[in-house]
């Protein structure tokens, strides 16, 4: 037998896998032909043919791949002479170092479906004649074509099922610390699947030439696999940690770090995986219709003038519009986010082709944030975000995103590249919207308490974007890059500041978790100072939850989940306590300082210089007229500020006046300064759009509020005229939770109430306090998703409430919450 040439040295010097594969295939074929001539031709002058199948059929024989051969026979060999000849043929191959993997079949067996053995049929898709009875092979070739044409749907279905099972085995991700180049998603097997699906398609149907578009990726994977085979001396396909380092020492390899090489791998695997998924999608969507398709056809009614829905996929009616109207791509993604229907492969490819136009459109300042905010608020935001990433749209909208695409953090802890980690973090967060069981449930409840999920999603997109920059910290670099992006996408200043805060501080909770003594009071104090407000802390807790959970699938252990919750709890307790105890002391008698003296520190954390200046001006008016009222509309809600001297029932009167004209209070704060001046701030919605549609009503409301603040308005009468909305069904209602804490402050009692929100609830609660002769010292009200989160600091005759008074008050409050 002619010995096989040793191609190892040549490969290690030039790293050209294509030549190696072709030469190895050719030399193996020569050996097989010789061996066939020697052992089989004398016994089988006809009625037997050698057919290369699988990788050998594709002429892609890697150095240590099995050599898949179909021994095609007219009829199964019965006599000993035939069997002996076959056995000698195979043995010679093995003795010569060929790992021959053979099967013996007749044409009939090849052209029949074998339940449980789809592999035979699939391997025949790559069959190639080697030697022997050419007539017999021709018979196979022609019968096979007809067989495949008639059984196409069954074969395709089986192949897709197998592919999905294989992807599932690797958790549907290309990101593995030690990836399998052959079987993992994005590996060589996915390339084969694309090839098989293309061969299995109806010849009349034109498919994209995915493999031609993946030339570079194919070469990368081929080179790596060739190296692994030579390095291990066997069919080794897993790129272990040491192999990742060794391959870089080879003469053919350009100089780079292991992280850079892995980045190349992940980017290549990702493109291959995506092409395979597209191929599956295209082929599946052209499959004959069944019962399910009737439902899908129903969904086609959702089509719009720009987008048509076909078989649960989105198609553009005028794809060429993408070039002239780049925002069309965002409208497609908005549709995806709303209805959970992804763009069709063709739509994705068209978006990809339009990326330069989209990028140049959004390179200058544009109101992109309006689009993103809407997309991120919709039920299928994650599907849209993934699609944006996979099509490259995210990179075109924010070129800074490309800095982290495929960026590898190489250790045993970080499983994903930075871009993938970021998307998983967003996914972890958005998954909470559907609720969660067990210890995660607390975080699922927390997400219903934040005002803006889109801002949180956006902060997550930015949180590691500076990771590839060598700066003081990645949080700092991410915030710096984020500033540029947020300005370009025209995010309002206030939101920019908030996102910047989240990005910059996204590590504080994990840092407290890992390096601070949670029982030490100074830990809570520092955390509260860094977080600033209860609201900020909620966002940070959610971000930390999603971030740690996105490092690797097991990073968020129940132990860590508990620790994170503890950190959140101690921060929350401290911030709530601080509301009353941590007051501003200016040590100055300047008018501005005089106004601030005695307000809770929270005031300065939640108001910027301009707002403080406006409040000082309003205070002057209040001193002159007895009350200062400011009412403005901002971002779809109304903001009301009232400054006046404190008096009994003040808070209840203002709240009652707002509720009396049907306004829905979503946020409120009430603080008093050292001069006993009260600053009450409210954010309220106008569900009936009374103020918007009747501008004169704004002045009327202002006058009504002035009267309410001065105590010259019968609020009770106003409220009686309004019908109380009927409460939601019992099953859906949140059970009110009322909690007293006498220790939180030195002179007041804290009451925390969590209840189902309704118009008038706050008035009813304030009224209970007034009727119980309690003074409200500090108020912090927040309402998110029908849940009212109310904190009051109360005194009675200048002292804390007694236990008995708490008891009575609790009953009354509970009744008011119903």
């Amino acid at each position: 037998m002619t010995p096989l040439p040793d191609l190892r040295e040549r490969f290690l010097s030039d790293g050209n896998p294509v030549a190696i594969l072709a030469e190895r295939t050719a030399s193996v074929s020569q050996v097989i032909a010789e061996s066939f001539q020697t052992y089989l031709t004398p016994v089988f002058p006809e009625g037997l043919a050698m057919v290369a199948v699988g990788g050998y059929g594709r002429s892609e024989l890697f150095p240590h791949s099995d050599i898949d051969i179909l021994i095609l026979v007219e009829r199964a060999p019965q006599d000993e002479k035939s069997r002996d000849a076959l056995s000698r043929f195979l043995r010679t191959g093995w003795d010569g170092g060929l790992h021959v993997s053979h099967s013996v079949h007749t044409v009939e067996e090849c052209c029949a479906l074998h339940p449980g053995n789809l592999e035979l049929t699939i391997s025949l898709l790559d069959q190639r004649f080697l030697c022997g009875d050419a007539d017999l092979y021709r018979k196979l070739s022609s019968r096979l074509q007809k067989f495949i044409a008639s059984e196409r749907p069954t074969i395709v279905k089986g192949l897709i099922r197998q592919t999905r099972e294989r992807h599932e085995k690797f958790q549907n991700t290309v990101y593995h610390l030690e990836p399998n180049l052959k079987e993992a998603p994005g590996g060589l097997r996915d390339l084969h699947v694309i090839g098989w699906l293309t061969k299995l398609q109806d010849p009349a149907r034109e498919l994209p030439d995915w493999l031609a578009e993946l030339r570079e990726e194919i070469r990368f994977l081929f080179t790596a696999r060739c190296y692994l085979h030579y390095a291990a001396g066997r069919d080794q396909n897993v790129v272990q940690f040491d192999a990742q380092e060794e391959i870089l020492k080879q003469p053919f390899q350009a100089e780079m770090t292991v992280a850079q090489w892995m980045r190349q791998y992940f980017l290549a695997a990702r493109r291959v995986f995506r092409a395979a998924k597209q191929a599956v999608d295209v082929v599946e969507s052209s499959a004959p219709s069944g019962l399910f398709s009737h439902f899908r056809d129903w969904r086609s009614r959702m089509s719009t003038s720009e987008i048509s829905v076909s078989k649960d996929r989105l198609l553009l009616r005028n794809p060429q519009m993408l070039e002239s109207d780049p925002e069309l791509a965002l409208r497609v993604l908005r549709f995806t986010a709303r209805h959970g229907l992804p763009p069709a492969a063709d739509t994705e490819r068209r978006i990809e082709r339009a990326l330069p136009a989209i990028e140049s459109h959004f390179a200058s300042e544009r109101p992109l944030w309006n689009h993103l905010r809407e997309i991120f608020s919709l039920p299928h935001a994650m599907l849209a975000l993934r699609t944006m990433h996979e099509t490259g749209l995210l990179g075109a909208l924010m070129p800074e995103w490309r800095m982290i695409e495929g960026f590898v953090i190489r250790d045993f802890y970080h499983r994903y590249t930075v871009d993938e980690h970021t998307l998983i973090v967003a996914q972890n967060l958005l998954n909470l919207r559907a609720g969660a069981d067990g210890p995660r449930r607390r975080f699922a409840e927390l997400i219903t308490e934040v005002e803006s999920v889109p801002l949180l999603v956006f902060a997550i997109l930015l949180h590691d974007i500076g990771k590839s920059i060598d700066g003081p910290t990645h949080a700092y670099e991410s915030a710096r890059l984020g500033d540029v992006i947020m300005k370009r996408i025209q995010m309002p200043d206030e939101e920019q500041m908030f996102v910047r805060f989240l990005v910059e501080q996204h590590l504080i909770l994990s840092s407290v978790m890992n390096s601070r003594d949670l029982d030490d009071p100074s830990t809570a104090k520092d955390l509260a100072t860094k977080a600033g407000t209860v609201e900020n802390l909620r966002y940070l807790a959610l971000m930390t939850y999603a971030d740690i959970s996105g490092v690797n699938p097991t990073a968020m252990t129940p132990w860590r989940l508990d620790q994170l919750w503890r950190v959140y709890s101690i921060g929350l307790r401290e911030l709530t306590r601080e509301l009353d105890t941590d007051r501003i002391h200016t040590h100055s008698s300047a008018p501005a300082h005089d106004f601030l003296e005695g307000f809770p520190s929270r005031y300065l954390r939640t108001h910027d210089k301009d707002e403080v200046a406006a409040h000082i001006a309003l205070e002057e008016k209040a001193r002159k007229d007895g009350v200062g009222v400011e009412l403005v509309r901002r971002g779809g809600v109304w903001k009301l500020t009232v400054i006046t001297l404190d008096r009994p029932r003040l808070f209840a009167s203002i709240v009652g006046a707002l509720s009396g004209i049907g306004m829905d209070i979503v946020k409120a704060e009430a603080f008093a300064n050292a001069k006993n001046e009260v600053l009450d701030s409210f954010t309220f919605a106008d569900p009936q759009r009374t103020l918007e549609l009747n501008p004169s009503e704004v002045d009327r409301l202002r006058a009504t509020l002035e009267k309410a603040a001065m105590g010259t308005l019968d609020v009770r009468q106003m409220l009686e005229r309004r019908l109380r909305p009927s409460p939601a069904k019992t099953a859906e209602r949140l059970r009110p939770a009322i909690y007293f804490d006498a220790e939180a402050s030195a002179h007041a009692t804290l009451v925390e109430i969590i209840a189902e929100d309704r118009i008038g609830l706050l008035y009813d609660l304030a009224n209970v306090f007034a009727e119980s002769n309690c003074s409200i010292e500090v108020v912090l009200i927040d309402t998110e998703a029908r849940k009212a989160l109310d904190v009051f600091y109360l005194t009675k005759e200048g002292r804390k409430l007694t236990e008995n008074e708490q008891f009575v008050l609790e009953d009354r409050l509970r009744a008011a919450c119903q």
Partner: protein, 112 residues
């Protein structure tokens, strides 16, 4: 050979790791555990609901070292993990009969 098992406060883990690294001990097994000794549990409150935290979060650091180095390692761990308060944790020391490196079947201290 001795096995040293230290149950410490979670926030002390980094300091303990650093202290061990400083004396050339790199290999260790870290486990997130829950438990309590004399420290007992405490009550926590969230939104009015009080709940007893019986088992406190701790971190267990385990390592096997040559007998001659045991005291040095114990001192390093103890110094790094100490705050002086209840709950700092404990260190346990065991005799180890044998160590085998699975990859090449080396035995004894060379396998550490």
């Amino acid at each position: 050979m001795k096995k040293i098992e230290a149950v410490i406060q979670p926030f002390k883990l980094e300091e303990v790791k650093e202290a061990l690294k400083a004396i050339g001990v790199d290999g260790m097994t870290v486990t997130e555990v829950r438990g309590h000794g004399r420290q007992k549990g405490h009550k926590e409150v969230y939104r009015g609901q009080e709940y007893q935290v019986d088992l406190l979060p701790k971190v267990k650091v385990e390592m096997v070292v040559a007998s001659g180095r045991a005291d040095e390692v114990i001192n390093a761990v103890a110094a790094a993990a100490k705050t002086g308060k209840i709950g700092d944790g404990k260190i346990f020391v065991y005799e180890v009969a044998e160590a085998i490196r699975i990859r090449n079947e080396e035995r004894g201290e060379t396998a550490l």
